[in-house]
């Protein structure tokens, strides 16, 4: 177990800057998720931490050791790969034991650790099988187990759930979180799925275009996004972002070109809830019925679409006009040109 830190880390591939001035401190035992769209630099950052990519500038520290020049094998980290990267010709047992044997761990200790990992991941029956004889979910657990038995200082996970079907993904998500909680090993987890990030991370680091946009707890990111990118990326469906000038409300302290952000749960049909601001009126562009709730895309103008959340089913159809109101606490203002958050918006009634 060890803290990890990136200090002003750059990575360039030729002329392409994959990571720019990444500074991020991860506490001992913390579960941090790097999230962002593809090409945002999150995987590159993880691979630099693993030692699989060289750092162009800046320093990476694990524990109290700067590891820029330390080989991957000596960093005392274990990684779960997106494609699992299990050794195909070895049994599950040998996959587990390979890294321990390289580190000259004693035979009995290896057997003990393999047994423990296999039990905790319910792989006990499968220890003598080869990877190709396992299902995708089982292979995924073997990949986890191979990292677990190493008992490393830091776990690195590169989109480990992306090859699983939706149901198994949710189940394994919980499993990984539980394991990490038990063994309290510092974990850096990369994903492009913001739901994974929100449900798993103690803290989330949102990356875009090689830059770190915001770091914080899931609540912080959700409640107080630092900029338009984070506001749009975190949350599903994402925050409605509309030009403040195009909304028929009198917003205080809204500079020219400001953008108003409203989460779907803060936009409700008129009459469903007290103290709503409004009413606003628009035409329904789409209806997304999820059963427990329904999301309506409502256009109040050519560039202004609000996502409105309705509990249960909504007896409306695309093309109809509806009236809705906004929850006063849920309004956020952003600067139009920089995207920077300006804080909560207040409305003159």
């Amino acid at each position: 177990m060890a803290p990890v830190s990136f200090a002003e880390v750059d990575k360039r591939f030729g002329d392409v800057e994959a990571v720019h001035a990444l500074t991020l401190a991860i506490a001992d035992g913390e579960f941090v998720v790097l999230v962002g769209p593809s090409g945002s630099g999150k995987t590159t950052a993880l691979r630099m931490l693993a030692g699989l990519e060289a750092v162009t500038a800046g320093t990476i520290t694990i524990g109290d050791q700067v590891v820029n020049a330390v080989s991957p094998g000596e960093r005392d980290i274990a990684m779960v790969f997106q494609d699992y990267a299990l050794y195909p010709q070895m049994t599950v047992r040998d996959n587990f034991a390979f890294g321990l044997r390289r580190r000259k761990v004693g035979r009995e200790e290896i057997e003990k650790r393999v047994r423990r990992a296999a039990d905790s991941l319910e792989l006990g029956e499968l220890l003598d099988r080869r990877p190709r004889e396992l299902s995708g979910g089982q292979q995924q657990r073997v990949a986890l187990g191979r990292a677990l038995v190493r008992e490393p200082q830091v776990f690195l996970m590169d989109e480990p759930l992306s090859n699983l079907d939706a149901k198994l993904r949710v189940q394994t998500r919980g499993e990984i979180k539980r394991l990490q909680h038990e063994i309290e090993t510092t974990t850096v987890y990369v994903t492009h799925d913001q739901v994974e990030a929100m449900t798993m991370g103690d803290r989330i680091a949102v990356m875009n275009d090689g830059r770190l946009e915001q770091v914080g707890t899931p609540e912080e990111l959700y409640e107080r996004p630092a900029n338009l990118f984070v506001a749009g990326f975190i949350g599903s469906p994402s925050m409605s972002l509309v030009p403040a000038a195009g909304v028929p409300l009198e917003l205080r302290q809204a500079p020219d070109g400001a953008v108003l952000g409203v989460r779907p749960e803060h936009a409700r049909l008129w009459g469903q809830g007290d103290g709503l601001i409004g009413p606003l009126e628009g035409e329904i562009a789409y209806v997304e019925a999820l059963g427990r709730e329904t999301f309506l895309g409502v256009d109040t103008g050519p560039e202004t679409r609000f996502v409105v959340s309705v509990a249960g089913r909504a007896p409306v159809r695309p093309g109809e006009r509806v009236r809705f109101g906004l929850v006063p606490d849920g309004l956020r203002l952003f600067e139009g040109d920089t995207g920077r958050a300006l804080g909560p918006a207040t409305v003159r009634r």
């Binding site: 990267a85 390979f98 191979r146």
Partner: protein, 272 residues
């Protein structure tokens, strides 16, 4: 209907090509069983003259020649395979300065035919005192085989998922251990295919053996066939019987390795 006609046509075409490929082999087998003298290949067999093989064995000195062939071929195949694996691993998986230039230089070895270099090679080896030794047969063929082998093995190593090698590195495995324990076990079809090809090429090499050695005890089996070809007459029955003797080891090896051989040939075709 069209599908069926297409299928018939396919079988017909494949059948014709198979016949073209098989005809010379059948011809040699038939001729090898003909009575000596007078017979030509493709003639109607006039009995099973198995004594042709015994005669050919004695007259072609195959007991000695086959021994030389085995010594040379096994040495060349073992050395070339080892060197090709190591060089292919470096070119396929390691990033180092000048790797592209070096690789193309190795490819030159594939492109220049032996006939073009045989004369200077003879003088070089003579200066080194290596003519009329097994080295004169082994070293040039190792050189030629490594060019192909490196090319072949590099293609295999490139097909191995990078993450597998990275997982091994994170597990604390050295390059050496990664090669032998993690990567190469996956390459058995590729290696066996290479072994079969190198074996065949080395075994059948004629020109090098003809030029480099004159000592009876060092001559390889293909040279033995030359005995049956006189200046004016050729004993086709014995020549054919000798050919069968020389070709048998290659055929046996092919049959033995064939399952892997086919898989290896297809290994680079589809990435999966």
């Amino acid at each position: 209907m069209i599908a069926r006609r297409e299928q018939h046509l396919t079988y017909l075409l494949l059948g014709v090509f198979s016949l073209i490929a098989l005809a010379p082999i059948v011809g040699i087998l038939v001729t090898a069983l003909q009575a000596r003298g007078g017979a030509t290949s493709f003639g109607v067999p006039d009995g099973l003259n198995l004594e042709n093989f015994a005669t050919a064995w004695d007259e072609g000195n195959f007991a000695d020649y086959l021994r030389s062939s085995v010594i040379v071929t096994v040495s060349v195949v073992v050395l070339s395979t080892l060197l090709s694996i190591l060089a292919g691993y470096a070119f396929g998986m390691m990033r180092f300065r000048g790797s592209t230039v070096l690789f193309y230089m190795m490819l030159l070895g594939l492109m220049v035919p032996l006939e073009a270099t045989i004369v200077p090679l003879y003088y070089d080896l003579r200066d080194l005192g290596l003519t009329d030794t097994y080295w004169a047969l082994i070293l040039p063929q190792v050189g030629a085989s490594v060019a192909f082998g490196t090319f072949w093995m590099r293609a295999f190593f490139r097909s191995v998922p990078r993450s597998l090698v990275e997982a091994a590195r994170l597990d604390g495995s050295s390059s050496w251990t990664t090669l032998w324990r993690v990567v190469l076990p996956l390459g058995r079809p590729a290696v066996l295919t290479m072994v079969a090809l190198l074996f065949m090429w080395t075994w059948n090499e004629f020109l090098l053996a003809l030029v480099m050695v004159s000592d009876e005890g060092l001559r390889t089996a293909p040279l033995g066939l030359a005995f049956f070809q006189g200046r004016n007459t050729t004993d086709y029955a014995l020549l054919s019987a000798g050919s069968v003797i020389v070709a048998t080891p290659v055929v046996l090896l092919y049959v033995f390795l064939q399952r892997h051989f086919i898989r290896g040939m297809l290994a680079g075709a589809v990435k999966g």
